[in-house]
Subunit: 265 residues, 2 copies
DNA sequence: CGGAACTTTGACACATATCAAAGTGTGTGG
DNA sequence: CCACACACTTTGATATGTGTCAAAGTTCCG
């Protein structure tokens, strides 16, 4: 199973492997308007993916609001009226859902090129909180406008459907993980998935900085933070990974994959 | 949280509260062709939901294959080419996903009026197995045709998007359940959800027959069948429910809801 | 430099899994 | 129609993985 946390928009994207947190210089968190044909991320962004030149002209009728979300700030909150999807242009987010009894849980992590907010389409309100784990840039895609556009560009409609479907498949994968895997398996799957998604974006699949805490990983994987920490330590002793706080080095990815298969032979 | 297992197509549907397993007389499992305007389930079915008379005429261009799936048979299997969505006209299904190491897990139960197969849209192949737990009737909706139709009927497109989105929200709910609830909470949520969905279809919310085994419930909830059985027994001792094999009587639904809240006060 | 947030590690508790055996119901073939 | 086999369920005894509680260690940031 390959759990793609959040839906990936493009299969691959080359980029300088600069894994350092993008600390922006300009402090304004102001929005700015932009269009698809002037967007430097258009090979990757939702509505523009695979459009022809003439379709792009149509697409430019749709105006996006690009905005910055600072670390710790919400992109949207549960209960907010749903108006837009958000393409992550740069950065890292967590989504959490709140149970009525007060507990909440991380339901996904999203990185560059993934689209957030699809849970809101049906209820017309967002059903989870999405918070930036580092200073991030997103492109807000007004849903109504997207729909009009998709009506004229069948390829876009199809693309959008696949995106939603993949989110369903991703969540299916998480259900399997939560329902039938032990702590070792969960964590090795988590690491392999992260590694794979980073690789698809041109980053190193073997060395990266985690953007989330042990507690957030645990919440996502249905484990307590102490268990996450212990399992990291165990993997390190076994030579599977190197751990220095948030910096992870995947030393034996085949070994990690074995962790998931070995309980049954 | 209200976990709607599979996406509900209509908010409510009145029906004679005949909960007995529909054992069909005619033995043929042959397909028959039908159109929306002659369908006796159209108030409930996907493409016809909320269409005007003239839109219905358009909809009739789309021909559906109605077919029967006998208990134990597959509606589709993981890996099958995706061509159609399936509206459950009558009956009960489970969907299971297989992990590469051999284990498999129930990812959802579906009943009348719910739509199956949305996981296949993205990958263009089904990603889970769906098996009838009783003799069932489905309506196969060719996806390509549905798309054409939706292009002409905006309300249908919107309806379809909401349906997919709700499936995402449902799975989110299951993730919460699997990630942060104990056995009591999981089972009471399961029962309440089932009860609620039955009520929405005009069946009794307080007395019903389970269509699945303890093992299947356990697989869905991330528990072993013995734990499911023990928890049923415990709920019975506490006067929350009555259990006689597959026949369940909800005696104290408020009490069941309390089970989910009481750990935190 | 000091405090806050996060991480690691240990000791122990507990919920659920595992293993086992008996009980119940159901369908089939004689 | 009975009897047998099979699938499912219940219950008990025990094992174990993960949670809980606690304390010390580390890093980060103001």
């Amino acid at each position: 199973m390959t759990t793609n946390s959040s839906v990936r928009i493009i299969p691959a994207l080359r980029r300088a492997p600069d894994d350092a947190a993008a600390t922006p210089k300009s402090g304004e968190s102001a929005q700015c308007r932009t269009t698809c044909s002037t967007c430097n991320l258009r090979e990757l962004c939702l509505p523009c993916c695979g459009l022809t030149r003439s379709e792009m002209d149509v697409a430019d009728r749709l105006v996006f609001h690009r905005s910055r979300v600072r670390r710790g700030e919400s992109l949207y909150r549960s209960g907010d009226r749903f108006t837009s999807l958000y393409a992550v242009r740069n950065g890292f987010f967590k989504s959490t859902a709140l149970l009525e009894n007060g507990r909440d849980q991380v339901t996904g992590f999203s990185m560059t090129g993934e689209v957030l907010g699809m849970d809101g389409i049906g209820p017309e309100r967002h059903t989870c909180n999405t918070i930036a784990l580092e200073d991030s840039d997103v492109c807000a895609i007004p849903f109504a406008g997207l729909q009009e556009l998709a009506h004229e560009i069948p390829g876009l409609q199809r693309h959008f459907h696949k995106m939603m479907s993949r989110e369903i498949v991703r969540e299916n994968g998480v259900m399997l993980l939560l329902g039938s895997m032990n702590a070792d398996e969960r964590l090795s799957m988590f690491l392999l998935n992260l590694s794979q998604r980073l690789a698809a974006r041109g980053y190193s699949p073997t060395e990266f900085n985690l953007r989330m805490t042990r507690g957030e990983i645990g919440s996502y994987l249905g484990l307590k933070l102490e268990t996450v920490s212990r399992t990291f330590s165990k993997f390190q002793e076994e030579g599977l990974i190197g751990v220095q706080q948030k910096f992870i080095r995947v030393l034996d990815s085949a070994g990690l994959e074995l962790v998931m298969g070995r309980e049954l032979g």
